[in-house]
């Protein structure tokens, strides 16, 4: 294998049979190239979908209410269900063991926000400190709402990055006052949100402050919880389902809602959705792998086919070499080493070309559902080795047969 004379012989043969070398190399390189691209996009889709999902915590349960549609226990349909602080606290107490982060919300969907001469319409939300983790918000400057803000009804606000850009035009917003319907709030923090601009154009303040300032009393608009994750994903999904069902039933009982009324209260469990999405991603991955492996098999068959042709084409040469004293194993070795070298070299070439394409084109793809397409280098490298190995086996049979040809038959082969 490391015999320099053998390598010289092989390079000479390869360089003097350029077309053959090129075609073999092309079939291998394109196979690996396609596989790398496929795997890259499969991971890109996975990244894209996952990041779509991760704008909020993936294990959240959100609860909001609407209008009853069914009469129940003497109460008419068309009744608006209003959640109260008490509802939130009851749930926290009851499911404390299973919940990680909790927050109630008092939301004003469109509120006028002023800073000096700049103004805009933004969502205003009274929240609890845990909301930072529920929303996956990233604090860019300052801090988030904390417990003492909530307890003390402090007039502080955390603004999304969009507001900071729109209203403050590059000024440092921390410590400045913004005015909402004539009430001043001190900005204590600026946040980023992976959900993008939409989630960054809002103002968050302590829920108690919001209830007081906007005549909310004890009302809350919605509540969100996150379920404690266990290591086992399926268990977590199950737990999350149980908790959301429990919450739904509890609220239906307290507010006297028909058990089959689906519009009066909605409990949305993202973990269940996440499970569906992840299983979709898994399916996509499996399909891409299937196609990829199919490509590799086609590549191996191609290499085997080319090896057959090479051996056929070189029958006479093999006969000459044997007549001149080549041992059968040296013939097998020569053909195999040549094919392994070509497949290895072109496989790596295809690998590098595929990786380079992903590297340069990947960032240019502007789609929410494909992000950072990339391939695990080790996976790609092992597929190259699998191809080389399978190619060697596919090549061994014709090579071995060639070595068994009687030189006299080979020499008659015109």
């Amino acid at each position: 294998m490391f015999d320099i004379e053998r390598w010289q012989e092989i390079f000479e043969t390869l360089s003097k049979n350029k077309l053959r070398t090129f075609l073999t190399g092309l079939s291998v390189a394109s196979g690996i190239f396609i596989l790398v691209i496929l795997l890259g996009f499969s991971s890109g889709i996975q990244n894209g979908v996952t990041s779509q999902f991760e704008k909020d915590a993936t294990n959240s349960i959100s609860v909001w209410t609407g209008v009853t549609t069914k009469e129940y226990k003497g109460l008419n349909p068309g009744r608006r269900i209003q959640l109260k602080n008490q509802d939130f606290n009851d749930i926290v107490t009851k499911y404390d063991d299973n919940l990680e982060y909790k927050s109630a919300f008092y939301t004003i969907w469109g509120g006028l926000v002023n800073y000096k001469n700049e103004s805009g319409n933004y969502r205003i939300q009274g929240v609890m400190p845990d909301n930072q983790f529920i929303e996956n918000a990233d604090i860019h400057q300052g801090r988030f709402i904390n417990h003492s803000d909530v307890v003390g009804n402090k007039k502080v606000a955390v603004i999304g990055n969009k507001l900071s850009v729109d209203l403050f035009k590059g000024d440092n917003p921390i410590g400045k006052d913004i005015s909402l319907y004539g009430i001043n709030f001190k900005v204590v923090g600026v946040f980023f949100d992976p959900g993008g601009e939409r989630d960054e154009s809002k103002v968050m303040m302590p829920i108690t402050t919001a209830q007081k300032a906007f005549n909310g009393g004890n009302d809350i608009r919605s509540m969100m919880y996150t379920v404690k994750m266990s290591d086992n994903f399926d268990e977590a999904v199950k737990l999350s389902e149980q908790v959301s069902l429990g919450i739904e039933n509890d609220i239906k009982t307290t507010h006297i809602i028909a058990p089959d009324d689906i519009s009066a209260i909605r409990v949305n469990n993202t973990l269940e959705e996440a499970r569906k999405i992840y299983s979709l991603v898994d399916t996509i991955k499996a399909v891409f792998w299937f196609v990829g492996i199919g490509t590799i098999i086609a590549g191996v068959v191609g290499v085997g086919n080319i090896m057959l042709i090479i051996v056929k084409e070189r029958t006479k040469e093999i006969g000459i070499r044997k007549a001149l004293g080549a041992e059968p194993m040296s013939i097998v070795g020569m053909i195999l080493q040549e094919s392994v070298f070509v497949t290895m070299f072109s496989g790596l070439f295809g690998l590098v070309a595929g990786l380079a394409l992903l590297e340069f084109v990947g960032p240019l793809i502007e789609s929410d559902f494909i992000k950072y397409p990339q391939v695990d280098f080790n996976t790609a490298l092992s597929t190259v080795f699998v191809l080389v190995f399978a190619g060697a086996i596919a090549g061994f049979i014709p090579a071995y047969r060639a070595a068994r040809i009687k030189p006299i038959d080979a020499l008659r082969d015109e």
């Binding site: 000459i320 070499r321 004293g325 059968p328």
Partner: protein, 233 residues
């Protein structure tokens, strides 16, 4: 140099069996130049294949330079061919993508000779057949006579004990045939044992001994007055 005793060879095709060699006996001493003649089907090619260890006899013994040639496996046969024999074929059998020099150097590669020495020795033999200036040409750029001379240089390169030539002039015109025979005679003059299979009488007359084969037996084996090819060149 070569002793052959009671050599038999049959080919089996389905139920039919073709008895090609029916008891061949002959000896060749060192330095002889022997031609084996016979019409097609006489078994001369089969005999040469057995002599060249490209094929094996069913019965009888074959001794080459005191080494009994029997129970060959592919590996041993390859070694013996490389060490003992040089082949010259009717259709030259040069490797078409290798230069004349590399073709001549190939047997040396299989002897494990280092590249530098291979090139030197190959060049020496190319020079001997008068083709040193063509050393880097491909076979396709050479004439028939030149190709056969390259093939002769290749057969000589491994310094074999016996040269086996199968219709060496079969694909050449008369003038070129005589040039090639002149070269073969020259090599024989230096002491190399050479066997030539031919069906051309004028070529056979240029050897020192003619063995005539018919239907698998030797019908005539006689020494002849050698005609020097140089007088026609």
């Amino acid at each position: 140099m070569i002793q052959i005793k009671d050599l038999h060879k049959s080919y089996h095709m389905g139920n039919n069996s073709l008895h090609v060699l029916k008891g061949i006996n002959f000896d060749v001493k060192e330095g002889e130049l022997v031609s084996i003649m016979g019409s097609s089907g006489s078994g001369k090619s089969t005999l040469l294949n057995i002599l060249g260890m490209l094929d094996e006899a069913d019965e009888g013994s074959y001794t080459l330079d005191t080494v009994p040639i029997k129970n060959l496996n592919e590996k041993i046969a390859a070694n013996y061919r490389n060490k003992f024999l040089g082949f010259i074929f009717q259709s030259f059998n040069l490797i078409n993508y290798k230069s004349a020099l590399d073709n001549v150097a190939l047997p040396l590669y299989y002897q494990g000779v280092a590249r530098k020495e291979r090139v030197e020795r190959a060049m020496h033999y190319l020079d001997k057949v008068g083709l040193a200036p063509w050393s880097h040409h491909l076979p396709s750029e050479l004439s028939g006579g030149q190709k056969q001379r390259v093939a002769i240089a290749r057969a000589l390169a491994s310094d074999p004990k016996v040269l086996l030539a199968d219709e060496p002039t079969g694909a050449l015109d008369t003038k070129t045939s005589y040039e090639v025979m002149d070269l073969i005679q020259g090599i024989n003059d230096e002491g190399k044992t050479i066997l030539v299979v031919t069906h051309e009488h004028d070529i056979a007359q240029m050897t020192k001994r003619i063995v005539n084969l018919k239907d698998g037996v030797i019908i005539d084996d006689s020494f002849v007055e050698q005609v020097r090819a140089s007088q026609y060149v």
